[in-house]
Amino acid sequence: MEKKNYEGLDLDVYEEVLDNGLRIYISPIERHTIHARITTFFGGSTLEFKLDGDSSFIKVPGGVAHFLEHKMFEKEDGNDPLAVYENNGASGNAFTNEFVTAYHFTGAGHFYENLETLLKAVHEPYFTDENVLKEKGIISQEKKQDLDNPFSIVYERCLVNTFFFFFFKNTVLGSLDDINSITKEDLYNCYNTFYHPSNMILTVSGDVNPKEVIDFVKKFYKDYDFKKRPKIIVKEKKEPLTVVKEKDIIHMDNLSKEVMISYKIKRPTYVKDEYLNRIYFSFLLDLKFGAISKIVDVFANDANLISPVSSYLEPVGDYYMIIFNATVKDDADSFINLVDKTMKEDEYSLDSFNLIKKAILNSIILSTENASGICSMIANQVYFYGAPIYDMHDKLKNLDFETFKKATSGADLSNRSVVVLESED
């Protein structure tokens, strides 16, 4: 067990790697409850994979990681892990995103019983034709919620229109057809590949004794025979710079118009540190579209914009995808043109840069206020950067305006895809 510390944030983390490869991160904070989360590095955008040395890749339908997440709560003895947490007064859940699947619980008492339940939940699969079929009805309803949500509809189309080959183009839930085609064999294939401790991390935060937890987890794994094994190879495809389709209109019975704009940008390489590379790039969005940008008043005073304008930065392979979304009354083009014009301006103010820095420093203090936020932060950093960024506070304090300009100046903003959802008349 090694003690580390997020400098400047008053936050200790105890690290351990087990023989079977499981990485453990424990961060005690003064709370009554404990949040524990086990994350497997398998999300919605992994659809072709193999173990190193195997001759061929295994292909699975879209939505399989999420389907698997649902089915991990089904146990041969009929004891639903969620019921165990609930009977102990804790609450549990799970989520799947493009990159990972995570299972977690939060509670005050019965911690070790809950932790054992959590670990068993991810290591004891029980898939049958019958219980897979049953889940299809449930997940189809989950998907239908998205099919009635204008944002989800344009997002789904936008992904397909932006990427040729990246599996990221598949939504986490998959299509209704995908969901209905998933078999128990697909689930076992994914389970056997990705739910090995060497592909997982355990994060715990709250009122917790790190040594006790690590001893407990070590003891737990004595009953399981996880052998060392070859690494996982996820099929990678070379993605062209251009988008599949630049403009698309979806006709549906909608009263407003839903707009999504995506920019596909090859990741600039001036800043080698991946964490800082992303932070600097996110400053581009903050400066152009954030709370203190010039455009914030334009958006606020535009009665055509019914919703706030939201923007996101997603790392996808060696690309960044920047997405804008808004609901507009009738004029989609003026919004699209305004965003484009703003994206392509390249005058930045040092004062604004420094103000955003201040706000970001505050936001990371806030993000360490609760146990689940801490577990998220650590898991994200391990997934994206291979390890927690213990000097993040320092790194953020030293962000530099000149470096920012160089870090973002080469970005090619010419590859753009636009989707508008509107009614036919």
């Binding site: 008053d10 003064e30 709370r31 009554h32 409850t33 709560f73 639903d80 969620l82 019921a83 609930e86 009977n87 102990n88 007064g89 804790a90 609450s91 939060t106 005050a108 049953k134 889940e135 299809k136 009805g137 449930i138 997940i139 309803q141 989950e142 239908k144 919620q145 099919l147 009635d148 949500n149 204008p150 709250g206 019975d253 909608n254 009263l255 407003s256 839903e258 709370a291 203190i292 940008s293 914030v296 008043d297 606020a300 005073n301 535009d302 009665a303 914009l305 019914i306 919703s307 609901t327 103000l355 955003i356 201040k358 706000a359 505050n362 203090i365 806030l366 360490t368 206020e369 146990a371």
Partner: protein, 419 residues
């Protein structure tokens, strides 16, 4: 953790001093009487207050000033609280121990200004800001059908009367808002600030006396302190034959809401037995509805029950296929019957009690929950945390069965997806 209450001129200040958090949580609440006409003002009011300022000309300037204070996050809403409405500002900012000395005071000043010193020109809110926000809000209402869950919720509120008055229909609300002008909205604001009563909560690692001195200078409020305000709205009758409303829509999924009323509840039942009832019936994944409708019959992804305890009512929400409505509704009725008969596992009954005790322990882990819990003690006279635990321990299975007999389905609303 220590609690401090101060009566300052015309408002009450409540400070929760605790060293557990790096942030300071600030909650300002102006309570005023709920009335049908309020609805045309309240959403507009919070929008206009958030978008304008007496000190800054543009939103960007407001935000830039905010960033210079290490970016406190804040929001203003009008929340429903039974027979009362509450104009509330909640905010959270890094304690100055983590930023710069003097920042706490500056944050209090700025946030209080947002609520109490809005931009007013010739007895009206800023016309430009007002008109744009009005148009945005109206368009939001006009296109509500694009958001099926919100639309269904709003339609059920229209069809099922739980207040002393009948709420506006969506069309009525739109035409009422169309008639409001910047002057009328400001008059409404002045009325609230003159007639309402103010309670302020601060939670964090702060010096209570310092907060008292600081806020008594900053806060400019003309309303009065009131002794006792009653929030509960009792239900006196229900539709013996539930009102069924089925409305077609071009959606993939159908949104079902079952509205229930509870009659003749005692305080003990409302505060404790009702909680257990709703959790056993439709709380977590373990609940009767989840197990039956979702797990055994694969009819839905979500199904859950929500209490509106200040209105003695409850709603059950589910997203289903339109042609499975009859089947789902029958199952819901069946599960409610099981509650009356006490036909639920003892383990589930004990489990939801554990969840309740746990939720009490968890309150101290979040400033939001701490202030929320303390607010309900002050506003609706909830028991303190220790008493809550003791009283919940006393709830028996028979109590839940007796309460189940007082739960009546009043209105069923289905937004039927036909795509």
């Amino acid at each position: 953790m220590r609690f401090y209450d101060y009566n300052i001129d015309n408002f009450n200040l409540h400070v929760i001093k605790t060293a557990r958090f790096k942030t300071v949580f600030y909650s300002v609440n102006v309570r005023f009487e709920d009335a049908k006409e309020n609805e045309k003002y309240t959403s507009l009011l919070s929008r206009v207050l958030l978008q304008s300022s007496s000190r800054f000309d543009t939103l960007r300037e407001i935000n830039a000033f905010c960033a210079s204070l290490y970016d406190p996050s804040y929001n203003i809403r009008v929340v429903d609280s039974g027979s009362q409405a509450i104009l509330t500002l909640t905010a959270s900012f890094a304690n100055e121990k983590y930023t710069e000395e003097g920042m706490n005071r500056k944050c209090f000043e700025f946030l209080s200004e947002v609520l109490f010193e809005p931009k007013v020109i010739n007895g009206a809110f800023d016309e430009e800001v007002f008109e744009v926000q009005k148009e945005k809000l109206l368009e939001n209402y006009r296109t509500m059908k694009d958001r099926p869950q919100s639309y269904a919720g709003s339609r059920l509120s229209e069809e099922m009367q739980i207040r002393k008055y009948k709420v506006y229909s969506l069309d009525e609300l739109i035409s009422e808002i169309e008639k409001v002008d910047a002057k009328g909205l400001y008059e409404f604001y002045k009325k609230i600030m003159g007639e309402g009563s103010l309670d302020i909560f601060v939670c964090g690692d702060v010096d209570p006396l310092e907060i008292k001195n600081c806020l008594s200078k900053i806060i400019k409020f003309k309303g009065k302190r009131k002794e006792k305000i009653e929030h509960y709205v009792k239900q006196l009758s229900y539709n013996k034959e539930p009102k069924m409303v089925i409305e077609p829509a071009s959606n993939a999924q159908s949104n079902l809401i079952v509205g229930c009323k509870l009659l003749d509840l005692t305080n003990f039942e409302r505060d404790y037995v009702f909680v257990l009832y709703s959790w056993i019936l439709g709380g977590g994944m373990n609940s009767l509805l989840s197990q039956t409708v979702r797990e055994q019959n694969s009819l839905c992804y979500y199904i859950y029950a929500v209490r509106l305890s200040l209105f003695d009512s409850m709603r059950i929400y589910a997203g289903i296929d339109g042609d499975k409505f009859e089947r789902t509704y029958k199952l819901i009725q069946k599960e409610m019957k099981r509650m009356e008969k006490g036909d639920f596992p003892l383990e589930l009954f004990e489990g939801v009690k554990e969840i309740y005790y746990n939720s009490l322990i968890k309150i101290e882990d979040s400033q939001n929950d701490l202030v929320g819990s303390f607010t309900s003690e002050v506003f609706v006279y909830s028991d303190d945390i220790n008493t809550r635990k003791k009283k919940m321990e006393k709830v028996t299975k028979e109590d839940v069965m007796n309460l189940a007999k007082k739960v009546h389905i009043d209105t069923v609303y289905l937004l039927k997806g036909e795509r």
